[in-house]
Symmetry: C2
Subunit: 337 residues, 2 copies
């Protein structure tokens, strides 16, 4: 039986396992330092499709079907499909669900979707209702840039603190039974707002949410940062990551400096690839966690991982109307037990 | 302990209660036949705000705080806030969550969001993780029309099968303990597509999903339509509702003609209010179910209600790219026990 501890953390007593994962990325991501950890690297951004939106759907479906194949499961053996993405009306997820023919629950948590999906999946498995849940998320550089900022064809210049939206998708199967890293705790974030208004500086907008959820996770569980071999944020980038470290000290007295990394700083080679402050997008945390970190949990490099994926909850319209960019972060404890 | 029965239905063993609800609507909805059942009727569409988007947020917050007040609960007593809406990046829900300061999980199920929220809330309560969950959804005629079709200021003409997006919001509190109608079963829908391409004819696009989920609910539970005093769809409208009745017969042999209504046909006076085929939008099922039907459950008019909210999962971009409009429906059994 699950239970709540403290204010925002839920103990997943049955400790469901992430029995398998799959990740696919675009050609640019396939040139980064983690390239050997992905299941498929596309040779072109359109993935053989006629639009970036269709390419993104192809990527999510490829990740989902690859995860199913690796786990030896058919769609009929999966009880629920939980997915979300960055596109308006999460069309990548909805259209993927149509082809997967698995009962579907659509999520929107922006770039926190990977953690939101794992959190809801583990609570639903804890309820006894479902035994196998497929979670997925995706982003595509060109579909996201067009929707949130400018079409990539314009070649607009970026500011130094801007981040590159990842082209790729990640899927994971969370199961009541089976081997793999276990989900033991989830901390659901509150929406935070430190008055950032710049949609080109999302690391700064999301850092307060990461710090808030991490500080609350430690307070709720009695665990300090040192309990984990690795704490990763999803896509804070160079400046947001540093800001989160400072906020965790000032707001909770927790020193993250020793074992806190950011998926957005791991995916690209920041020296050689021109990505400014790092990676962003739903796929940032998904491909790094389900690709690289999942394998590092399995090979024993890490035993206790705290994924803290952050999302900026703005829209182009809310920015045009002068609103701040609120953000959220959810934490999921993933442990080899 | 919850369990799965059949292919898509989950039994919520602990039967959480909907301990209270609140609904608010715009001025046009306040002229309809259900006006006496709403907690607040706004006298103008802007609800005192400077934009339709801000008005929609004001409405969702008003519904949420009213539900909390009626239930005698503070935000601090609520474990999770589950919400979604029609706007890009569900900004109504995200910005409401910021003010509510309750841990937030964002959902996107288009007009199926009311049922999606109740379904996930009841499974999370079943897990033991949470005791009190606030669910909410909203839509606003002017913010939705501008985003999906044309700004209302253009005065564009509508086709006879078009529906009017409801201005309003509904909130409900689902609790482990307490009095009120109980959630006993949820059936999570698959995405369906019968090749409708017209975003002005969403009733036709969504009818296959309603029929599919209802037929599966009956097959999974062994209950026939006659088990329920009332089965309601969310916003199929005049033509979609009729189509769903025909599909339920042809696909499952189930006769819905006796006790199947549509919230989209109950909210407005179709003779006197010029709304073509009826109401649509996330708020359609939410304000009718949480406003009118909730009170009819409490006063004994109905004992067994099956809410089946449908959502069209298109975006303007997917329509422009020539895609069909896929749709989904989720069913929630709400029973006085």
């Amino acid at each position: 039986m699950g239970k709540k501890v403290g204010k925002q953390t839920f103990v997943i007593d049955t400790q469901p396992a992430i029995i398998n994962t799959a990740t696919v990325v675009g050609p640019f991501e396939g040139k980064g330092p983690l390239k050997e950890y992905f299941d498929h690297i596309y040779t072109d951004n359109l993935a053989g499709e006629l639009s970036f939106e269709k390419a993104e759907k192809e990527m999510m479906l490829n990740a989902c079907f690859t995860a199913l194949t690796k786990a030896g499961k058919t769609p009929q053996e999966i009880d629920l499909f939980l997915a979300g993405d960055l596109l308006n009306q999460i069309i990548t997820s909805g259209f993927s669900a149509l082809e997967l023919t698995i009962p579907f629950l659509g999520l929107y948590g922006a770039c926190s979707t990977s953690a939101e999906g794992l959190a809801i999946a583990s609570m639903i498995i804890e309820s006894g209702c479902a035994s196998n849940i497929l979670v997925a998320t995706s982003s595509h550089n060109s579909s996201a840039e067009r929707q949130y900022r400018y079409p990539t064809e314009y070649g607009s210049h970026k500011k130094p603190f801007s981040q590159r939206t990842v082209t790729g998708a990640g899927a994971a199967i969370v199961s009541k039974e089976g081997n793999g890293p276990k989900i033991t705790h989830v901390t659901i974030g509150k929406v935070e707002d430190l008055a950032c208004k710049d949609p080109l500086n999302l690391g700064a907008a999301m850092a307060p949410a990461a710090a808030s959820t991490l500080v609350q996770h430690f307070a709720d569980t009695g665990r300090g940062p040192e309990y984990y071999d690795l704490i990763v944020s999803g896509d804070l980038g160079k400046f947001g990551h540093q800001l989160a470290i400072e906020l965790a000290i000032s707001q909770g007295g927790f020193d993250l400096s020793k074992n806190f990394k950011d998926c957005g700083l791991m995916l690209y080679d920041l020296e050689k690839q021109d990505v400014h402050a790092g990676a962003s997008g739903c796929a940032s945390s998904a491909v790094v966690t389900y690709g690289y970190l999942y394998k590092k949990l399995l090979d024993g490099t890490y035993k206790r991982l705290l994924l803290t994926a952050t999302g900026a909850l703005h829209s182009p319209i809310s920015c045009q109307q002068g609103e701040n960019i609120p953000s959220i972060a959810h934490s999921v404890s993933i442990e080899m037990i």
